[in-house]
Amino acid sequence: MSEQPTTMSMADKIITATPTPVAARIRGLSDKGIAWIFVGPTIVLLLAINIFPLIWTIYLSFTNYAANRSGPVKGVGIRNYERILNDADIWTAMQATAHFVIWTIAIETVLGFALAYLIDKKFKGHGFWTTILLLPMMLSPAVVGNFWKFLYEPQIGLFNYAISFLTGMDRTSFQMLGEVSLAPWSIVIVDVWMWTPYVMLICLAGLRSIPDYIYEAAEVDRASPWRQFVSITLPMSMPFIMLAVLFRGIENFKMFDLINLLTSGGPGSTTEVASITLKRAAFESWRTGYSSAFAIILFVTVFGLANIYVKALNKVKQR
């Protein structure tokens, strides 16, 4: 990375730069004016693309509107919400979502922290290998989902081949994406492959934020390595771990892309997480009113989580 100009050259620049006399006379806009002109367009864009549609969704959630047919739109009060909360399919979807979120986060946190801990030993070449490790999370979920589908092919896929090679099982005796018992795990595996580096990177920042003198003091006090890990390393990197967990929690709660590509919710509805249910209701059955209500419920949940997330961000920032 290129270095920024040093303070010295900057100061020189300021001293030697001679502002035009015209500009000196016209003081220009007031700070307050500039502030609004600078912030305004962003706010307007977000209002147009995010908030206006959100309000529209709230309105639609109280109607029986269907986007694929014209006709009078009827208000139905809170019936859509009632129906969702009593819909067995929605609760199945929430269970599938919970399975996905809990397992991905548990595995990614353990694996991510372990990797960060090892990288923090600063072995030779750790910078290079860290960059390599980070590649999966930078890829498009579209290509990741698609090429994992290739790896999971029972007849020709590398994954089935590797499993049969290692365990001696017949490679065609199991279908990762086609079996009710395996499909929920196959999506967990892909998410772990893709997103463990994310957790690792944040944990690594946490580990590096712990000042050396604390460990030095612990050494002087003859604290065992295990004791140091439990009383220094873990608690001091905890805010960072929480940040990673929360962010992955939010992202995986609304997970759509990977699962849509891998299983589209199947087989049956085994991997039909909330976003897939929502997409099916909105863009396949065209129950726009009903799906709007579900969208609002999901949005409120994510908004609540996001609130906690921002608090966690600020906590990390203060360090």
Partner: protein
């Protein structure tokens, strides 16, 4: 306690533990790389090689996947092909050996073009708007500043499908369905939140004294922003732009729901590259390889700023 006897810092791990840590991390990294390398290899296989069992590690490389990716083909009789003039390119030759002829270009070039235009267009807009807003948030007293910043961040947290429903209806009303402009505006809105948060962090790090000194010398606020702050923020702006570019380049959920032809980008297109009798894996792998290469380059360029990018600027080291 062995550390105490050495001259350097007591927290420096021993040589053995370093070696073990390195071996474990490298092993994990290599396993992680297998799927990626496999796709790269598959892009140079012939369709029969790509579905061979056991999976082929050694094979004679072929550009058939890339040929199939960029062309549409029709099946012909061997007599017809024998009567044709000699093949004009390597692709011609490869395709004819399968009893087919190239009928025309495939959709991949328009899809790539869409990806490039939409990614660059939305990145430019998001970084432009984001820089202005970030400067204002960094330097001025704005009423309800924290609430506004939270609002800006929270828009990015919305589930994409929940946003896609009303956007789909709204775009249908105003004629932006399946247009590049529609996708650019949508991606700008998603990216601007990241841009504001990231750039605010970068601009916060530039000492206010620079501008204040310049303003004492007679610069207006705008001149100080333009001539002092912007040049100082170049690295931050570049890093932010790359993050926005990667997001727009990779985005799948909105693209698959809101585009179908005219404005379709690569992510929803790649999974539907099919040949005769099912998915043409070498062609899919070629598309994936070409699509992923820029991302690998960007990741290497960004490595120092990745942490910042994925935490919206909160964690800086």
């Amino acid at each position: 306690m062995s550390g105490l006897s050495t001259a350097h810092s007591v927290v420096e791990p021993g040589a053995t533990s370093k070696r073990v840590a390195g071996a474990l991390v490298i092993a994990y990294a290599l396993i992680t790389l297998i799927p990626l390398l496999w796709i790269g290899l598959t892009s140079f296989k012939t369709p029969p090689d790509s579905i061979a069992y056991p999976p082929k590690l050694m094979f004679s490389p072929s550009i058939e996947g890339y040929c199939n990716l960029f062309s549409t083909r029709t099946r012909q009789t061997p007599e017809y092909i024998a009567a044709l003039p000699p093949p004009s390119s390597e692709c011609d030759r490869v395709v004819r050996s399968r009893n087919m002829v190239i009928a025309g270009p495939s959709n991949v070039i328009p899809r790539f073009t869409n990806s490039i235009i939409i990614a660059f267009g939305s990145t430019f807009l998001a970084v432009f708007l984001g820089t202005l807003a970030a400067y204002a948030f960094s330097r001025f007293r704005i009423p309800l500043k924290d609430d506004l910043l939270f609002f800006i961040l929270s828009t990015r947290m919305m589930p994409p499908i929940a946003v896609a429903i009303p956007i789909y209806l709204m775009y249908r009303e105003i004629g932006l369905s399946d247009t590049r402009l529609g996708m650019i505006l949508l991606y700008t809105a998603v990216n601007v939140s990241l841009a504001v948060w990231l750039l605010k962090g970068f601009i916060d790090e530039i000492p206010r004294e620079y501008e204040e000194a310049a303003m004492i010398d007679g610069y207006t606020r705008l001149q100080a922003f333009y001539k002092i702050v912007l040049p100082q923020a170049t690295t931050g702006i570049a890093a932010t732009a790359i993050f926005c570019l990667i997001f727009a380049w990779n985005e799948y959920a909105f693209a698959v729901l809101l585009t179908s032809g005219e404005a379709q980008t690569m992510p929803p297109f790649i999974p539907f590259i099919i040949g005769e009798g099912g998915q043409d894996w070498p062609a899919v792998a070629s598309a994936t390889t070409l699509f992923v290469i820029p991302i690998v380059v960007f990741t290497v360029l960004l490595r120092k700023h990745l942490l910042r990018g994925i935490t919206f600027g909160a964690v800086r080291k």
